[in-house]
């Protein structure tokens, strides 16, 4: 999915000289200084951005095609699915399609180094030291053993601005979008938000 690069909106880069030239192109005396115009323009842009964020809903930015696993999927299979699909997290569904948890790379790392604050590098360090790897811990377990639960899910009508707040407050990178019964409709990730914050839609 080659989305456009997220970055500063190009419209922000209006120079004083641009404004002066534009004023020259408009016939008639404009009763405003270039500086006042710039202030007005930047404030208007801010309002426009806030309006876009406030009005854009989860359903418009989410991915509807979601890689999922079930409660009883063995961890070996979960890891394989995440690796081949190139995702860093998957929702865990029960038989009715209701989201019961989420498994992310962090959950694997946590299990491989129980009792310690885990990161990829701390696992590497552990593997290289005498204690050795603890991948064997993962054998025989299923998705429901290591998933994070309960899940912070969002509704399709939640605004992008609200979701960004949730991500920041909870330090999470993705949230499943669910219906009234808790059934999975899609997923919103940080990169979905970034893409829409940059003012461009899906490519």
């Amino acid at each position: 999915m080659p989305g456009p690069a997220a970055g500063n909106a190009p419209g922000l880069e209006v120079s004083d000289d641009d404004i002066y030239q534009a004023m020259r192109e408009i016939k008639g005396y404009l009763d405003i200084t270039p500086g006042d115009f710039k202030e007005l323009y930047l404030k208007a842009l801010e309002h426009a951005q806030r309006r876009m964020l406030g009005s854009r809903k989860a359903r418009e930015v989410m991915s509807a095609k979601v890689v999922t696993v079930s409660l009883s999927t063995p961890l070996r299979e979960v890891a394989e699915i995440m690796a081949t699909q190139g995702v860093s997290g998957v929702p865990v569904l029960d038989g009715e399609g209701v989201v019961r948890g989420v498994i992310s790379e962090k959950d694997f790392l946590g299990l491989m180094q129980e009792g310690r604050k885990s990161s990829f590098m701390s696992v590497v360090a552990g593997c290289l030291s005498a204690s050795g790897c603890l991948v064997s811990q993962l054998l025989g377990k299923t998705a429901c053993d290591i998933m994070s639960s309960p899940v912070r899910s969002v509704r399709p009508d939640d605004s992008v601005a609200r979701i960004a707040e949730i991500f920041t407050a909870r330090g999470i990178n993705r949230a499943p979008v669910v219906d009234e019964q808790g059934r999975l409709l899609g997923i919103v990730t940080r990169s979905d938000l970034l893409r829409h914050q940059a003012g461009s839609g899906r490519a």
């Binding site: 004083d16 002066y20 004023m23 020259r24 016939k27 008639g28 005396y29 404009l30 009763d31 405003i32 200084t33 270039p34 500086g35 006042d36």
Partner: protein, 178 residues
């Protein structure tokens, strides 16, 4: 920003308008003031009433020289002059013997009233001041001053602006009515 910093001014003067714009501004003002002047001469000989007051020169700058300005729109032109005239006459009646105080009060109050009513029109300040310092001829008119010369003169200038400012390709007037 402190007081000294503010005094330096951080803004930039807007660009000079094109020659075409200058010519149209000149022509508009000439026709507008000419119309008021002709009616003035006719009224003066027939009815003994004056129509020319100084603040119309200031209005001409706005409605023929900067017709895009919010200050130059019909609401501001008519509202600003009428309300300021009423304020000026009222203050003059309230403080008949105290010209300096009455003048200050009339102009300051006219600005406040124009702001409140979204009719800010700088020449209105002159209209209010003239009500106070205009001598016996103006004082004798009482509140009629708001209708003649102020209201009628402003209306004539507005009419010329509505016709004339819409003749050139690059001009239009008004931006809004009220």
């Amino acid at each position: 920003m402190n007081w000294r910093g503010k005094l330096k001014g951080a803004g930039q003067s807007p660009p000079r308008v094109g020659l075409e714009e200058i010519v149209w501004s000149w022509l508009g003002a000439f026709l507008g003031m000419g119309a008021v002047g002709l009616i003035h001469a006719w009224m003066l000989s027939g009815l003994g009433l004056s129509l020319l007051i100084g603040s119309f020169g200031a209005s001409a700058v706005l409605i023929y020289g900067a017709p895009k300005s919010p200050l130059a729109q019909p609401r501001n032109l008519m509202g600003g002059h009428l309300l300021s005239a009423l304020v000026g006459v009222a203050v003059c009646r309230l403080l008949p013997e105290q010209a300096p105080l009455a003048g200050a009060l009339a102009v300051a109050t006219a600005i406040a009233v124009m702001h409140l009513t979204r009719t800010l029109h700088p020449p209105g300040g002159a209209t209010a001041l003239i009500a106070v310092i205009g001598g016996d001829a103006v004082r004798g008119l009482g509140f009629v001053y708001a209708l003649v010369p102020v209201g009628l003169g402003a209306a004539v200038m507005l009419l010329v602006a509505l016709i004339f400012n819409n003749l050139p390709k690059g001009r239009r007037y008004p931006e809004f009515w009220y």
